[in-house]
Symmetry: C2
Subunit: 314 residues, 2 copies
């Protein structure tokens, strides 16, 4: 039996047909047009679903589930998006609307970070576990919590905002309005900020660094320069790792999950990222050495985590 | 049907007979003697249970549950305390031993902070909720998490160490070995440290403060002096509130529980403490104003939370 997963982003809508092995059989996408009324966005989602089904000879009514991973606060009990920052959703009954468009009754919704965590728990880095946490290191720091084989998002569906744990009181300003959030130190954007600050500093004091030679600073600038032996880049990376390890140790001490999976752009660094993080986490975690330890893994599903997680919603 | 709750501390063992209304009918206690072998501690727990039952004409075999709230990592599936810091427990099968002493088969165990949170959720400040968090502001900062009407402590039973969330990277040293843990800023001990530092500072610069007049600095020194109009004491209190509010906002952003209950010595400040905390929490919490909000409440059961929570273990 097939399922469909919808990854609704601020820029693109990606829709995938997912088979019983939790693999994406076929994927389609279209620009979101986030400035449009929500109803028009839903019509485009429906069209993509219909196209996918038609091309693969699947009757939409036979789908086990059509799941939507959406930004914002997604009430998975009512199918209403209470609020989204980057889409025109205010108490928007997206599940009902898509059900009417498609003539089905099994549309489910979930916050996008939570859906990605669910995808990794079902079919990715945390497959086979009951309790896991996914941390996405992208433009922001996203979090998704799986407890007892269920997505946990609090009584109001707004929880699991793990990027908005303050790890430095009165620290760097965060997009959420707080100061010192984990996101302000461990997102790809934060890494870019740290890199730029170091380049400026090197320029000011006349210190040579390979990072200055790059036409554009990205999340990889410091990592690449460090691997080429640049000491200033190493300092940026070490600082980044310090904060990331502090935040991940917090997650261990709070949840002691079987697995923490790391996704998002920065996780492209792969095992070397984990190797850099583990010494601090192992040293600082609570109960270390006495009981089994949380494993830190790179997420497996990449950009497909949202689609697969949405398709597999219960 | 009666139950028994055992609150096993580093200093005292308190045992209570609990009725169906979740009230303590009678309580007994004895010094723990934490330096003794665990088996002797268990014998004393058994004696207290027998005495309570005898005095109240209850047959121990008719008890619905005998629950033990213990320090350390308590495996509630096996009844084994994996490790405790202040008691001689290393993989100690405390439930089995107590069952043999009493000839019963229904001894359950839980970490003490988790049991207190369970007590508040069953019969105290969070009664009627499914998702709540208890924070104990005492010598340390303890945490207990209730999710979906169950205690959550991670796959290895060592989770919910909410006092060991770093809120200030490279900050004040914590007893756990990390730097900048919430506990190092929001425990009663931290409040005492902040008070002493301010007294020393005032002495150095020749500033008058009522706090200097106290024979002994306690967690109440700054609070009492502040209420008497002392400006230096107000500065200490404001600083303490800043960190406590930051940590509590973190808990909201992570869990969005229905209720956070505050226990421990500092919570004796009562509603004025909550009034001082709320403006920051409401301003900084994620999703504020769009969805229902977490309530912050003073815990209701005081020192009995552990006994009641232990007695009510499932």
């Amino acid at each position: 039996m097939y399922r469909i997963g919808v990854d609704l982003g601020g820029t693109n809508i990606a829709v995938g047909l997912v088979n019983e092995e939790m693999q994406i059989v076929k994927k389609k996408s279209t620009p979101t047009g986030a400035e449009r009324p929500g109803e028009e966005i839903v019509k485009d989602i429906a069209a993509l679903c219909r196209d996918l089904c038609a091309e693969e000879n699947v009757d939409p009514k036979t789908l086990a589930c059509i799941g939507i991973a959406t930004p914002g606060i997604a009430n998975h009990d009512t199918g209403v998006v209470e609020y989204a920052n980057n889409l025109p959703f205010r108490k928007f009954p997206i599940a009902d609307l898509l059900e009417k468009e498609l003539g089905v009754e099994n549309v489910r919704i979930e916050n996008d970070a939570n859906a990605a965590a669910w995808g990794e728990a079902m079919a990715g880095a945390a497959k086979g576990t009951k309790n896991s946490v996914m941390i996405t290191l992208g433009t922001g720091v996203g979090g998704g919590i799986i407890i007892d084989n269920k997505i946990y998002s609090g009584f109001n569906y707004a929880g699991a905002e793990l990027g908005h744990i303050v790890i430095e009181v009165d620290g760097a300003p965060c997009s959420c309005g707080r100061k010192g959030c984990w996101e302000a130190y461990s997102s790809a954007s934060a890494l870019i900020r740290m890199t730029k600050e170091k380049i400026d500093y090197c320029r000011t004091v006349g210190r040579a660094t390979l990072m200055s030679d790059q036409p554009k600073v990205s999340g990889r600038t410091a990592c690449d320069a460090m691997r080429a032996g640049d000491s200033a880049a190493k300092e940026v990376y070490d600082e980044y790792i310090k904060y990331l390890a502090a935040g991940l140790t917090n997650i261990v001490n709070i949840f002691q999950p079987e697995v923490i999976s790391l996704g998002g752009g920065v996780s492209g660094e792969g095992q070397s990222l984990i190797d850099a993080l583990l010494p601090t986490i192992r040293k600082e975690q609570y109960g270390g050495g006495v009981v089994p330890q949380t494993e830190i893994r790179i997420a497996k599903l990449g950009n497909d985590a949202g689609i697969i997680g949405a398709a597999m919603l219960k």
